[in-house]
Structures are given as C-alpha cells and as structure tokens.
Amino acid sequence: MARGPADPEVKAKVLEYLGKVQKAKSRDVAVAIGATKSDVDNAVKELTAEDLVEYLYITTTFICLKGKVQTPS
C-alpha cells in the first residue's frame, strides 16, 4: 500500500525550516520539526513536485528551497 498524501502541517513546517537554513538532510529536518523522517520524506516528495523544494546530491541527499543553493557545476 503506497503512502497517502503528505500532512499539510508537516509540509508547512518543512518549508519554514528550510527558509532558515541553506540546505539540510531530511533526517535533520525531521528532528528539528518534531516529525518522523518518513513523514518528512513524503512531504518533501510533494514539495518537489510543487517546485518549492529541490534535492541536492552531495555524496548524500540534501534538500533545500528551490534555487536557494547553487548546484556545483
């Protein structure tokens, strides 16, 4: 059974937290906003589809607000 839609409250908290930092791992976001990592992952998946957040791959996966961090060329 696939995961259902993300919790709007978690999505809002993720956006708020990412507004305060350059980039973060989803685990760190989860700890900071008091949610589970899977809920954050689910929220981030939707936020990337909405073009508000993007993934950064720097040896592991970071997330940041869309366009906030310049990807290394």
Binding site: K37, Y55, Y57, I58, T59
Partner: protein, 407 residues
C-alpha cells in the same frame, strides 16, 4: 601509443579460462584509456597498493546515484585515466538482451567512454568502466533516449536483481522476472535518491537453489518455495532405480530432515511433508521424479550482507510464505518493504545495514516495528535460538509468567 611491458598482468592471460587482461589489451588498440589502465594495474601489482581514489561529486541532473567517481592518484602520469568514472545501468530482468540492445549499449559507450564493460556487476547492473566527467551527462542522455536508466549507488536501494526464473528454469516457484521488473519500477524513487543509513539490496531467486546468492548477498531475499508437499512420480522413481541410481544414499541419506523414505522392495519413495524444509536437494538429484508442490510462492528473508560493521550475515526468515503469482500479490511485499525501510531509516546508524541494525536492537523490536508477528519459522532451532521473546502484554494475556506460575 607506445606499448609498455606488463609482465605480471601477462601471467593472468595464461590458462584455459577467459582473461580480463586479454580483453583490456584488445580494448587498448582503440582506447588510450584502456592502455593506461593496464599500466596503473601493473604498477599496483608491483607496488602492492592501489592507485585509485573513490567517490567525489559526479552525477547527472536529477539523480543521486548511478555514477561512481573514480580518479587516479597521479593524473600527470596517467592523463587518460585521470578521471575514470563508473556508470551503472539497470539491467533487464534475467539479463535477457537481443543483439540490437547490446550493440546500442556498446556503441554509446565506445563513443563516450573507454569501451570497457563489466557484464554484470555483483548487484547485477550493466557496469560501464571509465569515462571523463564531461561525458557523464551526454552518456546518460543517450542511454535514456535508448530506453535505459541508471542503476543504484550510494545509500539507496541498489538495483534489484533476479535469477533467470521461468525464462529458462523449471524449478522457479514464481515469476522472478516479473517480480523484479514490477518491484524495481515501484521503487524508482528509493533507487535514484540515496537517503538511507546505507545501501539496501533485494534479490529474487525462484527456488532454494538461490542462483542469485540472495541469502548471503542481499538485505532482502525473496526465495521461491511451496506451501504443500513434494510431488513424486513413482513410475519415474522406478526408472531411476532401473538406471542403478542409489536413491537411499544419494537422496534419502542426504535429506537434511530425513523426511524422505525409500522402500527398496516396492521401489517407492515417500515424503513426510511436515518435515520437509524445501531445500531442493531431492529435486536437484531426481528432477524427473520429484517436483515442487502445487501451491507456490516465496519466503521473505531479511538481513544478509557482507562484512562491514559486523561480520558477514546470512539473511533469516521473516515471512515464511507469500503468494507471488499476480501483480496484486506483489502489493503485500511492497508494503512490507516500506515498513522495513521506514523502521531502519528511523533506527539505523550511518553505514549500518539493516541486518546490523536488527542485530544491535534485537529481532523483537524489529518485528514490533514492522508489525509482523513472530512465527516458528523465524527460529533456527526450537528453544536454541530465541530471537523472539515474550512481551509483558503477551504474558498478561496468557495468564502465565515466564517461570510457569499463574499471574
């Protein structure tokens, strides 16, 4: 290019078996990178140390894995292999290709890379060895256009792999090819986006012969089995006897649970189904007389891995039997995998495989975390290997304490 001597590598060309040195030398006729690769390797053999640096930030847009950075530590000496990155491509289930597909792979790779391939890597991917950073995106774009996708690398789901299954093997208890294809497509996000504590592998074997070595090499093994009893064709048994095949010694005496009995006077073979562990030994020895049961599916095992934080682990049973016949049957497996990964993601330390997390925290917590009830098949031997302990809740419900007294 001036040909340089490689006496140590030349030793590896001797013998009747294929030699990777011979193949790299053939590639070196067209590729300077392949020639320099031989020089680096010969030097490593002389000095007994490697000259490769692993990692770095290389990749393609939108993907977190699939490309592994490789750099030589003396780029000025070996300029053609200064950047020698590896690309992993998702293989087709069972490694079935037509010649057109193989030609497409090789043509794109010779155009942009060293021309060297490894068909296939230990996870099963098509491995393309050696390209420069500037070629990575064009290579991906062309492979993508041709219908291929990148495999897994880093802390993500690695490319799932399966045995040849019903494509060529009568022992397959489920369609490993379809299961692998379907489940790979389901977990594309997990495959291309490394965000777990470490890597996670799934391997699908059609029977307990385990041709993918899933029990030792994958975090999740899906091994074909059957729920009912072996089917024995007594006429075929008699044919084995007529050919002087020693059924007692070769089959019954080697059955791990001694569940088979051969009656020499009637020349009949019988089985105690409850004792059979579905090990496949008798079927392998007498394939014309013994077949798997009719009710087929798969056993799901967890935790296999090579030595990293802990020593090497074999995976162990968490679901003794799961139907794997139709697409709908895959859903419970997908749901189980999501729960397993979620638990591991929450509880695992960095670079800790799931088997190691279970070892550290205990099977009981794991089973509670993924909401799977303990069953006898999880235990190696009754009362000898108590992975699963009673909870206080269970004891309260039963009304009996551990020492046998009434609560």
């Amino acid at each position: 290019m001036t040909e340089k001597k490689t006496p140590l590598l030349d030793e590896l060309e001797k013998g009747k078996w294929p030699s990777f040195v011979t193949e790299i030398k053939r590639a070196a006729v067209k590729s300077e990178a392949a020639g320099e690769l031989l020089q680096v390797l010969e030097r490593s053999y002389n000095e007994r140390r490697g000259h490769w640096k692993h990692g770095g930030i290389v990749g393609v847009r939108g993907y977190g894995g699939g490309v592994i950075g490789r750099y030589v530590d003396e780029p000025q000496t070996y300029p053609n292999v200064a950047e020698f990155h590896t690309i992993r491509l998702l293989q087709p289930s069972g490694w079935f290709y037509n010649t057109k597909a193989l030609r497409t792979i090789c043509d794109i790779w010779e155009k942009h890379g060293s021309g060297l391939t490894n068909m296939h890597g230990s996870t099963g991917d098509i491995i393309l060895l050696g390209c420069k950073t500037e070629h990575i995106q064009p290579i991906f774009d062309e492979f993508s256009e041709a219908g291929f996708d990148l495999g897994g690398s880093g802390s993500c789901l690695r490319t799932p792999n399966c045995c040849v299954g019903p494509g060529r093997c009568e022992h397959a208890c489920y369609d490993t090819l379809e299961a692998c294809y379907n489940i790979t497509n389901e977990f594309m996000d997990e495959l291309h986006r490394p965000m777990w504590p470490y890597k996670s592998k799934i391997k699908f074997s059609g029977c307990a012969n385990d041709c993918t070595s899933s029990i030792a090499r994958s975090d999740c093994s899906v091994i074909g089995t059957w729920r009912d009893t072996l089917r024995i064709d007594q006429d075929a048994v008699k044919e084995y006897v007529a050919k002087k095949f020693d059924i007692q010694e070769m089959v019954c005496d080697k059955c791990p649970t001694r569940c088979l009995t051969f009656n020499a006077s009637t020349q009949e073979l019988s089985v105690v189904g409850e004792d059979c562990t579905r090990c496949m030994h008798c079927i392998n020895m007498m394939p014309k007389a013994i077949r798997a049961g009719k009710e087929k599916g798969a056993t799901i095992l967890i935790g296999g891995k090579s030595t990293i934080v802990q020593s090497a682990f074999m995976s162990w049973v968490i679901v003794p039997f799961m139907k794997m016949e139709t697409e709908d049957d895959f859903e419970p497996f997908k749901d189980l995998m999501r729960r397993i990964w979620e638990w591991w993601d929450e509880n695992g330390k960095s670079r800790e495989r799931i088997g190691e997390t279970i070892y550290r925290l205990g099977m009981t917590k794991f089973l509670q975390g993924i909401d799977v009830p303990p069953v006898p098949q999880m235990v190696f031997r009754p009362r000898a290997n108590p992975y699963v302990f009673w909870n206080q809740d269970d004891l309260d419900r039963s009304g009996t304490a551990l020492d046998g007294s009434k609560l």
